[in-house]
């Protein structure tokens, strides 16, 4: 968005996106140009404030979720270790199952679950 000098006059143009392209749109000269520029400036400030608000909101959420994520990870890990210590195994994030143990029943070694 800019003021452009054409001949003896100065005119205000704003950039407008039309599909993939950005085109210049004539807003006016003199008082009309000034009002158009002021309006655009307010819109820009509003958009910047909204972006800033959204960024702050995202950061606030991230700060809230970080300890919750850590708690989730730690408790899952501890439960997993406790189950592993008790002889369970989980394949590919499926159900926990008793680990298969090798036992000798007298007729030779066989693999079986507890």
């Amino acid at each position: 968005m800019a003021w452009e000098t054409r001949g003896n006059g100065t005119y205000y143009y704003r950039s407008v996106r039309v599909g993939e392209r950005v085109v210049k749109e004539y807003a006016g000269g003199g008082l009309m140009g000034m009002l158009g520029a002021e309006f655009d400036e307010e819109r820009r400030e509003e958009r910047a404030a909204r972006r800033e608000h959204e960024r702050a909101e995202r950061e606030r959420w991230a700060a809230l979720e970080a300890p919750a994520d850590e708690l989730d990870e730690l408790t899952d890990a501890l439960a997993g270790v406790a189950l592993a210590l008790a002889g369970y195994r989980r394949h590919d994030r499926g159900e926990w199952r008793r680990r298969r143990v090798r036992r000798n029943d007298g007729d030779g070694a066989v693999d079986r679950a507890d």
Binding site: R58, R60, W61, L71, D72, V81, L85
Partner: protein, 188 residues
């Protein structure tokens, strides 16, 4: 938390080196790596990591209560009591530290869901909002809702597989014992 409390809990908890080592071993130990399990076992048995994780669970509750209620102490107290009731309903006598921690996690997840629901409902009831802001809050709500069943499942799995249960049926003189997933019935 005061410095004194931190110091006390540190003295019964893990040293910094142990904490780092423990964090590194958790992944392989979960996957069943025998060496990692052997190293982790004494730390688990000593219970050195419970103070740290217990503090983390309390911190999670506090930050979500703050986010939900702001400066309104009365509403905060209401949510605090409801959270404690929920904890009371989920806890059972003789629960292990792991179960208590998993219950705390369920409570924390419940607070997150409550917060996400309130926030999204307020947004929908308020003035018109930018679509992407609505999508952001809905995404937060969805994420919070996924956490609860996951936390409940972890608690249920631990209780089903690790906690011994005894049921005595007096009329039929039967004792049903269940230990680590294997059930056995004995007639009198």
């Amino acid at each position: 938390m005061s410095d004194a409390t931190t110091e006390t809990e540190r003295s019964i908890g893990l040293t910094d080196d142990e904490e780092k080592r423990f964090a590194k071993l958790l992944g392989p130990a979960q996957a069943g790596n025998e060496k990692a399990l052997a190293e982790v076992r004494p730390i688990i048995e000593r219970g050195g990591m419970w103070p740290y994780i217990g503090n983390l669970a309390r911190k999670v509750e506090e930050v979500w209560l703050d986010a939900m209620t702001g400066r309104n102490k009365i509403i905060r107290e209401g949510y605090r009591r409801r959270a404690d009731e929920l904890r009371g309903e989920l806890l059972a006598a003789g629960d292990s530290p792991l179960e208590r921690l998993l219950v705390d996690r369920v409570v924390a997840c419940w607070l997150q869901v409550a917060h996400a629901d309130i926030t999204y409902a307020s947004l929908l009831n308020g003035e018109s909002h930018v679509l992407r802001v609505g999508a952001h809050f809905q995404e937060r709500q969805d994420r919070a809702h996924v956490r609860v069943p996951k936390a409940m499942r972890a608690l249920a799995t631990v209780r089903r597989l690790l906690v011994p249960a005894v049921q005595i049926n007096g009329a039929e003189k039967q004792i049903v014992t269940q230990h680590a997933g294997a059930a056995r019935t004995e007639g009198a």
